[in-house]
């Protein structure tokens, strides 16, 4: 298979702090991989290692079937959006965008033209002659994005490229990215903390935790078959409910055969039915309304907490007594000791 990008047992460290631990990742050509993980997990570091801005302490990096571990950044043919934008303060927007082309000897005219087109794409065509210091946060980010998109590298490295955009713009940009990706078949590594983005955009998602890859899989796999409680809780908001499997709330339909060891049962807020007549009793602690949806925070008798999503229109009152229910089909089982997914 032709690989777009392969990290093979890559470790990296800042001074003495090890940040990445034997990360294995492979992104096939034309694939869009989203790296998801909590703050400080090492997402940016992964990109920096790929770009060649940080040396690896172990392992190899291959881009487009070429071992680039010892190549300098410029030789790796990647383009990158920095989390901090890294715009050139002295260049105008159009000059910033055209920079990568111009230093690669694209004729100035052409470079400017393509820069203008890229600016159009990210919706900052009106700002071409401003300098970064005169832009709002989101505008800067869009310029950084345009600068990355204007080229056609082997790999795009996007470090939270949409974090400062409003939802509408973000949806639009997301669609643009996806379209671009589909159009030019570019290999992309996209770091985000926004799971909607991850789920919508990704061909596959890699979940990073403390510098280790926790799970790699399609959005569907990540959502439906999280490999660990960490992934399960990290993806989805509010996070998946986790209770002891033999505990206060057990689905009432046919149980699968369970082993001996202690397990945990997990189910997402969306899977909780509140209007059950039977089921586990609980009290409503607090209700959050988000548009058409509401999230009810419930305490079970045993002191456990559960969140349920309900339509905003039919949300329970705070303090109300409710009965809740889930189905085995919606439930996930994990080993209580290791947090790994239980495979019956």
């Amino acid at each position: 298979m032709t690989d777009g990008l392969v990290l093979d047992g890559v470790s990296a460290a800042y001074r003495d702090t090890a940040v990445l631990h034997e990360v294995d990742l492979s992104v096939s050509r034309g694939e869009l991989l989203v790296v998801l993980g909590p703050s400080g997990a090492g997402k940016s570091t992964v990109l920096r290692v790929v770009a060649g801005l940080e040396p690896v302490t172990a392992g190899r990096v291959r881009i487009a079937d070429r071992d680039v571990t010892d190549e300098r950044p410029g030789r790796r043919n990647v383009s990158m959006v920095f989390q901090s934008y890294a715009l050139f303060p002295h260049l105008t927007v159009v000059e910033n965008i055209a920079f990568g082309l111009e230093v690669r000897d694209t004729p100035r005219r052409l470079a400017r033209e393509r820069a203008r087109a890229a600016a159009e794409t990210v919706g900052c065509a009106g700002l071409l002659d401003r300098r970064p210091g005169q832009l709002s946060g989101g505008e800067r980010q869009r310029v950084a994005l345009a600068r990355a998109l204007v080229r056609e590298p082997d790999v795009f490295l996007l470090d939270e490229p949409l974090s400062n955009l409003d939802l509408a713009l973000r949806a639009e940009m997301r669609a643009e990215l996806r379209a671009l990706h589909d159009r030019i078949g570019a290999t992309m590594v996209h770091v985000t903390h926004d799971q909607t983005e991850a789920l919508v955009l990704a061909d596959r998602i890699a979940v990073l935790r403390d510098g280790r890859v926790e799970q790699v899989g399609t959005p569907d796999e990540i959502w439906r078959a999280p490999a660990s409680t960490f992934v399960a809780r990290f993806v989805g908001s509010p996070a998946m409910n986790l209770l002891p499997a033999d505990g206060p709330l057990r689905p009432r339909d046919d149980a699968p055969t369970l082993g001996e060891e202690p397990l945990e049962i997990g189910f997402r807020p969306e899977a909780v039915a509140l209007d059950a007549t039977e089921g586990t009793p609980a009290t409503v602690d607090r209700v959050e309304v988000i548009g058409e949806d509401a999230f009810a925070y419930l305490s079970l008798a045993a002191g456990h907490q559960v969140v349920a999503r309900v339509p905003a229109a039919r949300r329970p009152e705070r303090g109300a007594a409710v009965r809740l229910d889930v189905r085995w089909a919606d439930a996930h089982l994990f080993h209580a000791a290791t947090g790994r997914r239980y495979q019956p």
Binding site: F82, Q83, S84, A86, G133
Partner: protein
């Protein structure tokens, strides 16, 4: 670097000998007579003391004035800044010789001739307006948000300067301190004009009189030059360390 080695080597040559017709890096015979006579004839010890005295007062004062002024320039109205910057540029253009006589009159009016004060006085303008401008550019290059953050925290400009701006331009300070030191240390015209008392002579003046020794006494003079250079080197080395060991920079 080679000139410096030659300087040291020359200073260790026995004075009074006819010049050697062939190059010698290690003089033969090796002799410290040059140093003894330099100290003896030129009053170098006393002069060093005076130079140190001047430097100890003038250098910190000068750096202080320069950095404060540079910082103030980033804070005041742009128009005022432009005026001061222009005035500083003009001041840079004035040759030192044009200032000697009027300054002498000023110092005399203030009763300060024949004291070390006129040698310290240039500290009032940061030794050179250039240093003020360098500070100004350095402070201006810091992210504006940092200053805004200080404003929000109700830091007086003085404290913003001290707590935030100054630490962030430490390489500049280190460099300018070294330069100010050298400029002060090697100031030659000012003491020539403003200081009469031999007991107030600074090193360059003492060196100047050594320089009139006849050429066979070159080692004596070179020894003097070495003595005058060493403190400056030490300051440079220290500043260079600060320079190197400072890596916190505005990021992102």
């Amino acid at each position: 670097m080679p000139p410096l080695l030659l300087l040291v080597s020359g200073s260790l040559t026995e004075p009074g000998l006819p010049p050697s017709p062939t190059p010698q890096l290690v003089p033969d015979p090796l002799s410290t007579t040059g140093y003894e006579r330099a100290l003896d004839l030129g009053g170098l010890l006393r002069a060093s003391l005076n130079s140190v005295l001047v430097a100890v007062v003038a250098v910190p004062l000068s750096v202080l004035v320069a950095s404060l002024a540079g910082f103030a320039l980033t804070r005041i109205a742009p128009r005022a800044t432009a005026v001061v910057v222009a005035a500083s540029l003009v001041a840079l253009m004035v040759p030192a010789t044009a200032l000697l006589v009027p300054r002498f009159a000023i110092f005399r009016l203030l009763g300060l001739t024949d004291t070390l004060v006129p040698l310290i006085a240039p500290a009032l303008l940061g030794t050179s307006p250039l240093y003020v401008l360098v500070y100004y550019l350095a402070f201006r290059a810091l992210p504006a948000d940092l200053y805004d953050a200080c404003l929000v925290e109700d830091l007086s400009p003085l404290r913003t300067w001290w707590r935030v701006a100054l630490p962030l331009v430490r390489p500049v300070t280190a460099g300018l301190t070294a330069l100010t030191f050298v400029l002060t240390w090697s100031n030659f015209l000012d003491p020539l004009i403003y200081v009469y008392d031999r007991d107030l002579f600074t090193l360059p003046l003492a060196l100047r009189s050594l320089s009139l020794l006849d050429p066979t006494n070159f080692p004596v003079f070179l020894a003097g030059a070495v003595i005058a250079t060493v403190p400056a080197l030490v300051v440079f080395a220290l500043a260079q360390r600060r320079f190197l060991h400072h890596d916190d920079r505005p990021e992102g």
